[in-house]
């Protein structure tokens, strides 16, 4: 059986590379397309059996256009079709991946492709969420120390006193301490703390 031809469409190359490598290693013929304006031609020339695209990729509309205007182009069969496996569909959406499959390709051959895609997208997402979390924490602790030094400087408080003052205000306002710190760090006057 000839190897399935898979076209990966994604704006963020970082998200694409591990998936491409994973699919390559499974013996599929994989090409990647990063630009919307080239996608049309890419689909026409490479004639993929399957196109895998991120749920939130703007290029999905370009694919839709191809599907409707050209009968022999990739057609969406995975999402929301009556005969699709609802579990697989839900997993694909949650992972942020959609696949478009040419009519007539055996669904059984698609499933492992999707499984790999889903796993890769999930791994990528987890990595990024983790990174975003770490960045946010870093940013917040920077704000808190800025706010603390301003309180120490302008109100003559000790470090524990400054922190305590922020925490008390945060509890009173039902805000997170980082929100209070941001306000302290950026406000013109500190009257609101009174």
């Amino acid at each position: 059986m000839a190897a399935l031809k898979i076209l990966l469409v994604e704006h963020e190359i970082g998200r694409l590379a591990p998936l491409k490598a994973a699919l390559d290693s499974q013996g599929y013929r994989v090409e990647a397309s990063e630009h919307a304006r080239l996608l049309h031609d890419h689909v026409m020339q490479f004639e993929p059996d399957v196109v895998i695209v991120g749920v939130d990729s703007p290029d999905r509309d370009t694919l839709e256009g191809l599907c409707v205007m050209n009968q022999d182009c990739p057609r969406p069969v995975v999402m929301f079709s009556g005969d699709g496996d609802p579990q697989a569909i839900r997993a694909a959406i949650q992972a942020g991946v959609v696949s478009y499959v040419v009519d007539g390709v055996d669904p059984a051959r698609i499933r492992p492709v999707l499984d790999v895609a889903i796993a890769q997208f999930q791994a990528y997402r987890a990595l990024h969420e983790n990174l975003a979390h770490v960045r946010r924490e870093l940013q917040e602790s920077k704000l808190i120390s800025q706010a603390k030094s301003r309180l120490m400087r302008e109100l003559g408080l000790s470090e524990p006193e400054a922190y305590h003052r922020m925490r008390r205000h945060a509890m009173k306002q039902q805000q997170r301490i980082a929100q209070v710190a941001e306000r302290i760090a950026t406000a013109g006057r500190l009257d609101f703390l009174a």
């Binding site: 304006r37 290029d59 509309d61 409707v68 999402m79 929301f80 959406i93």
Partner: protein, 432 residues
């Protein structure tokens, strides 16, 4: 023409809107203070409390998403017991799928797309619902600057150029060396405006041009990269093309059809049936927001809000001019457009006219997206939630029209009044 349609032909004038509007948003404010029990007397039985009080409403970064944004920003949602979370989407395909999966409860969406899904064009069929129309006008057709050098400034001169090319390339139906035009979704409004405009000038869009689909925020970048010769899209992207010095406005969508229906508040039939109170509350909040956005003195503020990163992410100036009807075409002509983007117009914009819904079906039929004539009227009656709309509009004192059809004359002089959709759909010289 039947009597109902005749009454419509006059003009979408004040006489159809018999109920007088109360000044500004006072009416809504008053209604908001009336006890819920009294308000609910308008519809039979039960509580009018939204069954689902938090709703995700999708939108695509476009000027006409303004009422969805302002409903949340200005707190019109909370007045009706709702919390609206506007949710920015990257593609119309995502809007469609997330409506179907329930991830979005409703969305700012292309009128034609809702009907495409209803008819199962290009994908699975799903029963859909239009709760109200969100906007009229304010889309446009941009041509790339290279056309200036070829003497093309409008539809007529474009037809002359394309006609001449086809004649010089015998055996080539035009696709090979054809110009590339982009629209935003195959069943959507921009595809229909673009095809209608080209055909009105004698250009067969399917045979003489190469058509591609590109999401609105990517239009300008794609034209800059020289892969596209023209596009049809909503503002602010036509204005942005002029600002960036890459194209000019060859036509506005209101040139094609003055006060045409454009975006709707769309959801699934299942949602509308399962959560009627929520649907009604959404309509009420959006009607108030529409009225707010339609007040010209608010539009500078609105432009600033929707220009923000959470919405369109562009310079407010790019949005504001055309939102206020101040147009320039990038070829030196400037004008005040009477048919600029409208959001309420005393309810003329918002009523989900059956004839508006049917029009998209006639064009889907014309361009071969539908292989057969559907039962136009019955499809539109199922999709457009006129009953829910009437109940909601009465609550917020937005005037209602007397009839469910309206009459318009389009750019080619053909009148559309919804009276004979099958004959209308089949009556165009240029078609698939």
């Amino acid at each position: 023409m039947n009597d109902e349609a005749k009454g419509q032909t006059a003009d979408r004038g004040q006489q159809q809107f018999t109920q007088k509007t109360m000044g500004s948003s006072d009416a809504g404010l008053l209604m908001g203070m009336v006890a819920p029990g009294i308000r609910s007397a308008a519809w039979a039985g039960g509580s009018d409390k939204p069954e689902k009080s938090t709703v995700n409403i999708g939108f695509i970064p476009l000027t006409d998403c303004a009422s969805v944004a302002m409903a949340a920003v200005k707190g019109f949602d909370r007045k009706y017991g709702l919390t609206i979370t506007p949710s920015r989407q990257a593609s119309w395909a995502a809007v469609r799928d997330k409506l179907a999966s329930g991830e979005l409860d409703a969305s700012h969406v292309l009128y034609g797309l809702v009907y495409g899904v209803q008819m199962g064009v290009g994908g699975p069929q799903k029963d859909m619902a239009v709760l109200m129309t969100l906007s009229n006008n304010g889309q446009g057709i941009t041509l790339a600057n290279h056309f200036k050098g070829k003497g093309v400034t409008d539809g007529a001169s474009l037809a002359k150029l394309i006609g001449a090319r086809s004649r010089h390339e015998p055996g080539d139906p035009g696709r090979g060396g054809a110009y590339t035009f982009a629209q935003t979704f195959p069943t959507g409004t921009h595809a229909m405006w673009l095809y209608y405009w080209l055909a009105a000038h004698g250009i067969d869009p399917l045979a003489q041009t190469r058509l591609i689909t590109v999401p609105p925020p990517q239009m300008v970048a794609n034209m800059r990269a020289a892969s596209m010769d023209g596009f049809c899209v909503g503002e602010p992207w036509n204005a942005r093309a002029i600002q960036d010095g890459i194209g000019f406005t060859a036509a506005t969508s209101q040139d094609i059809w003055a006060d045409h229906p454009e975006k709707v508040l769309g959801t699934t039939r299942e949602f509308a049936e399962r959560y009627p109170n929520t649907a009604r509350a959404m309509i009420m909040a959006l009607l108030e927001a529409s009225r707010y956005v339609d007040t010209l003195s608010h539009r500078t503020e609105v432009a600033e809000v929707i220009a923000g990163r959470a919405y369109i992410d562009t310079d407010p100036g790019t949005i504001e001019d055309r939102m206020l009807g101040r147009y320039s075409d990038g070829l030196g002509r400037t004008w005040r457009d009477r048919h600029f983007m409208k959001f309420c117009d005393d309810g003329r914009v918002n009523f989900p006219y059956l004839s508006d819904g049917m029009w998209f079906l006639t064009q889907h039929r014309r361009w071969g997206l539908l292989k057969q004539d559907p039962d136009y009227r019955s499809v539109a009656s199922g999709v457009n939630q006129i009953k829910l709309y009437r109940e909601a509009a009465a609550q917020v004192r937005v005037p209602l029209p007397e009839t469910e059809m309206r009459s318009s004359t389009l750019i080619d002089g053909v009148v559309w009044d919804g009276s004979d959709p099958k004959a209308y759909a089949g009556g165009f010289a240029i078609h698939a």
